[in-house]
Symmetry: C2
Subunit: 220 residues, 2 copies
C-alpha cells in the first residue's frame, strides 16, 4: 500500500537509489572500460596524399570512444621484410604529425620485424615497413612499434585512482585465462574518457572482449 | 699474489663456487623453462590414415622437450566456418586416442570459432573444424580447444614448489610487457621435465620467447 506518495515520487526515489549505488560502486570497485587496439596506422597529410592521391579527402567512417578520434574510411596493405602482407589495415584519424604503424607481437612475427614496445609517438627505435595504397607505396624507415599498454583518464579519475601522469600501474582481467598486466602507463587529459588500451595479444591472452572492464590493482 | 696454490686449484675453487651459486639459486628462485605452444594437432591412427592414406607411416621430424613427444613430418590445413584456412598446422606425436586441434584465441577469431579453454583431452565442449590432408578431408565435430596454461613437473619438483597434481598457480614473466598468468594447472609425472606451456597469445602478450624462464609466484 502506498499512501501520500505519487508515482513520480517513487520513480525519483528509485532513480536516486540507483545513482547512489553506481557512484559508490565506482569508488569502491575501480573498474576501467577496456578498448582493444587492433593493428592500425597514423599518417601525416603528406604520406596520406602520396598513398591515396593529391587532393583526396581524408574521410571519417565512425567515431572512436575517445572524443575527436575516429576510424577513417581508408585502409592500406602493410608489407614487411619477409614480403608477407597484412591487408586492410585501417588508418585512424585525425591525421598526425608523424607516420606510425601500431602492431601486436603476433603481427610483428608474421611480418618479420622486431619493433620496440614504446609509447605512441616515440619513434626513435621504430622499425621499417612498406605501406601500399591505391595511388602508390612508401617505405617508412621508422614507423612500426608495439604500443605500450596505457590508460586514458581525466584529472578527476587520476585523483580517484591516486595516480599521476606518466606513472605506471597494474591491472587485472579475471576468468579462465585470468591475467595481470604490468607497466600500464597513465595518460591524463581532461578531454578524454576513462579507458584502458591493450593490444590484441594482451586481450586474447586473457580471453577478453572489448566490452570487458579491467580491474585497477595499483601502482607499479 | 697467489702463494701455495696451483692454477688448477684456483679453477676448481671457481667451479665449486659457481656450482654452489646455481644449485642454491634453483631452490631460492623458482624459475621454470617456458615452452610456447603454437597451434597443433593430435590425431588417432584412423583419422591420420583417412587424411594421409592407408598404410602411410606416421613419421617423426624432431623430438620435443618432453620425453616421448615429437613433432611429426606431417602438416594439415585447418578450415573453419568462415571458410578461412590456416595452412601447415603440424601434427604432434605420438598418435593419440582422440583427435584434437589446439589453437590460440587469435587463431579462433581468424577461423570464426569459439572454443572453450580446457585441459588437453577434455573435448566435451570442443568445437568443430575441418582438417584437409593430401589424401582427403574430415569434419571433426568436437576437436578445437584453447588448451589451459599448465606446468609439467615431477613429484620432486612438486615438493620443491609445495604444490599438488591438479592444483592451480600463478606465474610471472617480467620485462616491458610484464605479465602475471593465473590459473596455471599443475600436472605431475616423473617421466616429464619441468616446463610451463603457454600459448602464443600468452607468450606474445608478455613479449616472451621460447628461451625465457617464467617465475613461479604461488598457488591460486
Amino acid at each position: 500500500m502506498i499512501n501520500n506518495i505519487t508515482e513520480q515520487e517513487i520513480v525519483n526515489l528509485v532513480i536516486e537509489e540507483v545513482k547512489e549505488h553506481f557512484s559508490s560502486s565506482q569508488l569502491d570497485y575501480p573498474f576501467i572500460p577496456l578498448g582493444v587496439s587492433n593493428r592500425h596506422i597514423h599518417l601525416t597529410k603528406k604520406t596520406f596524399e602520396k598513398l591515396f592521391g593529391e587532393g583526396i579527402e581524408f574521410e571519417e567512417m565512425r567515431p572512436l570512444y575517445q572524443p575527436g578520434e575516429f576510424a577513417s574510411k581508408h585502409i592500406l596493405a602493410v608489407v614487411g621484410p619477409k614480403l608477407r602482407s597484412i591487408p586492410a589495415v585501417r588508418i585512424l584519424g585525425p591525421l598526425r604529425k608523424y607516420d606510425q604503424v601500431e602492431v601486436s607481437l603476433t603481427d610483428a612475427i608474421f611480418l618479420g620485424i622486431n619493433p620496440p614496445v614504446v609509447n605512441s609517438g616515440n619513434l626513435e627505435r621504430a622499425v621499417s615497413l612498406t605501406l601500399v595504397g591505391p595511388n602508390g607505396s612508401v617505405l617508412l624507415k621508422k614507423c612500426a612499434i608495439i604500443a605500450s599498454r596505457h590508460i586514458h583518464m581525466t584529472n578527476k579519475d587520476a585523483q580517484r585512482f591516486d595516480i599521476k601522469e606518466g606513472e605506471y600501474c597494474k591491472v587485472r582481467i579475471g576468468g579462465e585465462k585470468g591475467t595481470i598486466f604490468e607497466n600500464v602507463l597513465i595518460r591524463i587529459n581532461d578531454s578524454w574518457k576513462l579507458q584502458i588500451h591493450l593490444d590484441t595479444d594482451d586481450a586474447n591472452a586473457a580471453y577478453a572482449q572489448n566490452e570487458t572492464f579491467v580491474e585497477f590493482i595499483g601502482k607499479m
